[in-house]
């Protein structure tokens, strides 16, 4: 089932195009958005989160047209979002903040206490549930951010650079969580770290300069790198080499 349907999407900041003619279909599973800094990943995430309006094109989420106010409202109830820069109220405890977000997401109130508890448990913050957010380390804050994103069991979960600030052990746990959610729901994860994608994602979408330049499985991306296996500039892993090769090929084509 298609949960995200993007057609002819263009996003502008002033006169500058941050996304240029994107067409996308996504269904259940884990989708990685990959690309260098400034490629347009965050812009796409913000558009999918209904925070930014497209300059052109249409975005349909979970069957709702986000150009309509009513459609946006309905989609938002079933959405989870972790922005790249996660703002929070420092005086709130983890549990209070997650509960506050559950209220903002208009969850039925009888489901909230259990959902809050479960979300905090899933990110492994049970022993810090009563701690104020300002007392948490960077990694814990990210996990609190993920907890608020998943509290409503979102059918569409958008995570912008979620692994930034997590240590290796936490990353492993986080991937487990992603697989758990991604088995039934649509998860979109943006990252500039190729290894995140390699291990966790079912599908990779590669962006550069606001354009979609590659779509496929991690294996398909890795295959692109097998041709220049002895070219050390491409990276250490096949996936990294595939990533570099895809970018290089696209840029050469663009110049030509």
């Amino acid at each position: 089932m298609v949960t995200v349907r993007v057609d002819g999407l263009r996003a502008r900041y002033g006169g500058k195009l941050a996304l240029d003619g994107i067409n996308l279909r996504m269904g259940a599973g884990i989708h990685g958005l990959l690309g260098p800094n400034g490629a347009g990943k965050t812009t796409l995430m913000r558009t999918l989160a209904t925070v930014a309006r497209p300059s052109e094109g249409s975005v349909e989420l979970l069957g709702h047209d986000t150009a309509q106010q009513d459609g946006r409202k309905r989609a938002r109830r079933r959405l989870g979002y972790l922005p790249q820069t996660f703002g929070y109220y420092p005086g709130f405890t983890v549990a209070e903040f997650v509960e506050y977000m559950a209220w903002l997401k208009e969850m039925p109130k009888d489901r909230v206490p259990e959902a809050v508890e479960r979300a905090i448990e899933r990110v492994g913050l049970v022993d810090r549930a009563g701690s104020k957010l300002k007392k948490l380390s960077g990694g814990m804050l990210r996990r609190a951010g993920i907890a608020q994103a998943i509290v409503n069991d979102p059918e569409l979960l958008l995570l912008d650079e979620p692994t930034a600030g997590l240590d290796p052990e936490q990353r492993v746990e986080f991937r487990g969580l992603l697989r758990d959610i991604g088995s039934t729901n649509t998860v979109v994860v943006s990252t500039h770290l190729v290894e995140d994608v390699a291990i966790a994602c079912d599908e990779v979408t590669l962006f550069d300069g606001g354009k979609l330049i590659f779509r496929g499985t991690p294996n398909e991306l890795a295959e692109l790198g097998t041709f220049g296996a002895d070219d050390a500039r491409g990276g250490d892993t096949t996936l990294e080499r595939g990533y570099t090769a895809a970018l290089r090929a696209y840029r050469e084509r663009a110049v030509a």
Partner: protein, 431 residues
């Protein structure tokens, strides 16, 4: 659910900590003003509520404005705006919740002051306390909190809150009294001597009409709602026009004097009996108690029909006495000495024996000087029945006179005193 979230907001807004000293400041100030400064003396309630409530309202309102302006910029300051944008909850609901959680503290900081006023009201001189005015004062604070929230929403910078606080404070303090009908004057104030002039030193406090305080409170509440709508509405510019109209409504409310003064309040409340003793309504003392206390004096005055009774209500009820209040005005307040019913007889004797001279203030007031003090004291003592051995010579002399001679003597004296004609008593025998 909403209540739980509101509770988190109230507890975690970081305000309770630094609100404590402010709470103590606002309430402590009013406590000192209203309770300690009275020093056991009775205060004109209406006056003290005005002078002491004004600093309370100004302080608490400024505080409300500042914290609300600060809170309104929170989402942007904390970088949470984007996350919130992605949720379905109407932004007005969220804003309202966060506004309530900050507006509640300035209001709470006024509560001890309200208690102070309440305890003072037991000593009310000018009639029953006007708790409606307190409600209007609290509504003012709430409106300022809404104003701060609107300002903070439109200008979400870090400096908005402190600048708005300073500006508001300076404007209210410095310009407030200079603007004759400033915003604060929407809150009812005592106006001296406008209606009472035709009954000198009787009605000090022109009570506002009963509905004025509720109307003022309602207006401030409406203003608060209008400002909150401006702050939270999706199309803000559209909401500005109706809000501006709501604000402009204050002009007739503040400027129309007749809106505030209850012309019925100085009316009299009279005792039973052929000779009626009347007490102005706003004094709130039972006229029968005054009638009892003044009875001996009135009996002695009974056979003196030429004397115009003091403070006649109107020309047709010449037998009504008005019980005067004895008040002194100071630069900053008016203080009334105990107008207890038990002293009413003495007051009446003082008034009746006193001289109505335009060059000095009226008898019974501190500035009064008698042109014939010995005679005056004698008449007063006789009216009060103080004719024993220790009494003044004239009082004893009057007691010994036969009724018809005394009648003639007193008639001459009282007529002279009423006309301030000292030469008319020059030939009066005093022993």
């Amino acid at each position: 659910m909403t209540a739980r979230v509101l509770w988190h907001e109230i507890r975690r807004s970081g305000l309770p900590l630094w609100i404590t000293p402010l709470l103590l400041l606002v309430s402590g100030l009013v406590f000192i003003q209203t309770l300690l400064r009275t020093g056991g003396q009775r205060l004109e309630w209406a006056t003290s509520i005005f002078y002491d409530m004004t600093p309370m309202v100004v302080l608490a309102s400024t505080l409300a404005l500042v914290v609300a302006a600060w809170r309104a910029g929170r989402e942007r300051r904390r970088g949470v705006a984007e996350l919130i944008e992605s949720t379905p909850r109407a932004s007005s609901q969220r804003a309202l919740l966060s506004w309530i959680s900050v507006a509640i503290w300035p209001v709470v900081s006024c509560l001890p002051a309200v208690v102070a006023f309440g305890s003072l009201s037991r000593e009310a001189v000018s009639g029953p306390p006007l708790f409606g005015i307190l409600a209007a004062g609290l509504a003012t604070v709430v409106a300022y909190a809404a104003l701060g929230f609107a300002v903070g929403t439109f200008v979400p910078g870090r400096f908005t809150a402190p600048v708005a606080g300073v500006v508001s404070f300076v404007v209210t303090i410095a310009l407030g009294p200079r603007v004759p009908h400033g915003l604060l004057s929407v809150v009812p104030q005592p106006t001296y001597g406008t209606i009472a002039t035709n009954r000198s030193s009787v009605g000090l406090w022109d009570r506002p009409v009963w509905w004025f305080a509720p109307a003022a409170a309602l207006w401030f509440a409406a203003l608060a709602v209008a400002l909150l709508v401006v702050a939270t509405a999706r199309r803000r510019l559209l909401t500005i026009v109706p809000s501006a109209l709501a604000v402009l409504l204050a002009i007739p409310l503040a400027q129309t004097q007749v809106w505030r003064i209850d012309t019925a309040s100085p009316s009299l409340n009279c005792s039973d009996g052929s000779v009626r003793v009347c007490v102005p309504n706003e004094v709130g003392v039972a006229p029968n108690a005054v009638a009892t206390s003044t009875k001996p004096v009135r009996t002695r005055l009974d056979d003196l029909p030429t004397v115009a009774p003091l403070g006649v209500v109107d020309s047709t009820s010449a037998s009504a006495y008005v019980w005067p209040q004895n008040c002194r005005s100071y630069p900053e307040r008016i203080r009334c000495s105990s107008p207890r019913p038990s002293t009413a007889g003495e007051k009446l004797a003082e008034r009746v024996s006193g001289w109505q001279c335009s060059s000095s203030s009226s008898p019974g007031t501190p500035m009064y000087t008698s042109p014939a003090p010995r005679l005056e004291r004698g008449v007063r003592d006789w009216l009060l029945g103080r004719t024993g051995d220790s009494a003044s010579e004239i009082a004893r002399y009057l007691a010994t006179l036969p009724d018809n001679e005394r009648h003639e003597w007193l008639s001459r004296y009282l007529l002279a005193a009423e006309r301030c004609d000292v030469s008319a008593v020059a030939g009066l025998r005093v022993s």
